[in-house]
Subunit: 423 residues, 2 copies
């Protein structure tokens, strides 16, 4: 990335030297994993460009937005309703981090036995490597898992953090709790932005976010085709970029990509041959640049046809009811939509099992790789339930627990390649 | 323990041989740690007796209660209101387990990175070693931590489990959620027992549980004296036994113990010399026979003067309002009392920090040992906040993270003895 951003990065408090090294490494990593893929849709060029400017142009846009009085709001979880942020003309940025960075600094504050995702967002902050976090006027956390819930208390010592409570069951009382939290967040965002949320602005935001969701849903549906018209790596990247790119622009890019993929399907054109093993990945989110598992799977000749994950299907599968005319009704509809998310932090969470089976059928996946970040208790424990259900349905299953390091790369390759051979 | 219980244990589905070995080991362990203590209050003999019959007489009582139509209800957490169980004439049994038992079996169902407490209650069950669990008509779980929350889903495959939701903040909405869960639990217990909860029965239960709490509060206050009139090991044991012994009988035993301790204080009689280092232990619960830390501390010549823990002060410090006349008001009062518990699963949890400082002042502790079970995210992460607060107040602090094994015994001894020398 060009040195033209050095001034901006310095103003954002980054460690320029370490940041330069990070971008260099990320560039090589991206080139090796992404640009080396064959027969990619041409519309992926947009996403390559976004990635090449991930800490540059997009960060510059955030500074411009801030200069124009807009608030930049960071989130870590698909339970934070982006619609509310957009309705106060805020910019919503996903902050989840996917690289093993600043671990030493993070472990000054967090137990070593903390999941990589949490350590990474601390590490990026503490090592001065994340221009997104440092651009935020506010970070919105939630109580989904114990690790994040308690880590936000410490993170609040570094920059303003607001935490919304997400319940742990789906009882009516739990729905009421979450809805009251949606209202509380609305009030807080109004206070932070100095802007009142109107029915019009909120409906506009809902339509925009729904449109992006529908684009990603369409992308997911197109992946049901055989031969697979797009790689799992590319589909994951699109989902990842959707978290921090401008929502209008990225939606248009997703729609262009889908148009092109439809043409490819008509032309029977795939990224892998028809016989390539089809895999569904299920479990924890994969934040940029956490591409380890899909890289191994696809470099071994298989293709990932779906992500049952927060960075994937779990994030996009439901929409919010549009064009309601009463603000309370709209807030209620938002709360109901978000409470449909089948995150492993809920108990019971049988709908996730049902959904995985449904996805296996639709994508015609031959096997499921359950991916959990080490020390993520909700997903590592729920993995047993997933396993039982898949066994019952006669679906092949591989359970992986790993972190962000590349130390287990060879071991994972061996296990994944052996799994693919059994399919 | 006598072989006279073999028939009962067999009927309960225990693995007799392994169970025999467990009791033998536990007996030696208890004798080494407890009976070797000098100058114990005579009233501790009751607790020695209870321990010697822990899997015998008490289990026989449970079978008799069941034969008389009473339900035996197991719980794992201080958020389950015992008052409701007693109000349907149920027997409430704390099931938390403190020994490294059945780990191999437990790890067939749970990730290796699960805390010892959870692995232990699975292990006891799966290895056929827990006559308490096997006596239960119902086990009541809760959503306090991710580990237990998700583990109950699997545990439900072995015996009936009911889960109540505990919120994660202390907002008014969270209070309402918990109160609705108290009402739901009441309805469920009525259905399970076939008994309607009356105002009279519930008030009686409240008075009984409050009386036991006041007994334990009194015991805690008596420990403020110098020289320490009772060991931390013995005080912990009293708190542990209170979870599964008959509540009337154990309360009387606690009161007799307190009477005797008052006499000791008047006579200036201590279990350790006046100069013995005074330690507050803060953090995770210690279930029977998890006596590793207090054993090391007290065998090194120091004395534990308080437990800021669920098996200790956190469990007993607040009482429920007595003699209300409306059932809804009583349920509300119960909910309010339980929501005062300052468990690390809440965010924020500043009242716990305040309370630790208050306890240090009252007990005149010279240092705090923060004890967390490895992989317990709420307490291991909150430990940092505790550390910051104690440093601010100039209070010495040692942070320990360990499991139920004895493999780190020598390392812990070295660290704890070094810490004691600094005080």
């Amino acid at each position: 990335m060009s040195e033209i951003y050095n001034g901006m990065w310095q103003r954002l408090g980054l460690n320029l030297e370490a940041h330069h090294e990070l971008l260099k490494t990320l560039g090589v990593f991206y080139s090796d994993i992404y640009l080396s893929q064959k027969d990619r849709p041409k519309a992926m060029e947009y996403f390559d460009f976004v990635m090449s400017e991930v800490h540059g142009l997009r960060i510059q846009e955030l500074q411009e937005a801030k200069a124009n009085g807009r608030r930049v709001i960071g989130t870590f979880c698909v339970f934070v309703p982006e619609e509310l942020i957009l309705a106060v003309d805020g910019v919503c940025i996903g902050l989840c981090a996917g690289a093993e960075v600043g671990i030493y600094q993070a472990e000054q504050y967090l137990p070593r036995n903390t999941c990589s995702l949490i350590k990474s967002f601390f590490g990026f902050k503490l090592a001065g490597l994340c221009p997104f976090t440092n651009s935020c006027d506010l970070v919105i956390g939630e109580t989904t898992c114990d690790g994040k819930k308690k880590a936000y208390e410490i993170f609040g010592g570094f920059q303003p953090v607001y935490v919304m409570e997400v319940p742990q069951t789906k009882s009516e009382a739990a729905h009421r709790l979450y809805e009251s939290e949606v209202v509380r967040l609305k009030d807080h965002l109004e206070a932070v932005s100095g802007k009142k949320i109107t029915v019009k602005a909120l409906n506009q935001a809902i339509r925009l976010v729904n449109r992006r969701r529908r684009g990603l849903q369409r992308l997911n549906r197109l992946r049901f085709a055989s031969p697979a018209p797009v790689s799992g790596l590319d589909a994951l990247l699109v989902n990842q970029v959707a978290f921090y790119d401008d929502p209008v622009r990225v939606t248009e890019a997703i729609e262009r990509l889908c148009d092109e993929i439809e043409d490819r399907i008509k032309a029977n054109q795939g990224v892998k041959p028809v016989g390539a093993k089809r895999i569904l990945v299920s479990g924890c989110p994969m934040a940029i640049p956490n591409w380890k598992i899909p890289m191994i799977v696809e470099q071994a000749g298989a293709v990932i046809v779906g992500e049952e994950s927060c960075v994937g299907e779990r994030h996009t599968k439901n929409t919010v009811k549009e064009d309601l005319t009463d603000l309370n009704d709209i807030l209620h509809a938002i709360a109901r939509r978000y409470m449909q998310i089948d995150c492993a932090t809920f108990t019971p969470n049988e709908e996730r099992m049902d959904h995985i089976i449904e996805l296996v059928r639709k994508t015609e996946a031959q096997g499921v790789i359950h991916y959990a970040i080490q020390f993520c208790q909700p997903y590592t424990i729920e993995a047993k339930r997933v396993e039982e259900r898949l066994r019952l349905e006669g679906i092949q299953y591989l359970r992986i627990e790993t972190d962000y390091s590349l130390q287990d790369l060879e071991a994972l390759k061996t296990r994944i390649e052996a799994f693919l051979e059994t399919l």
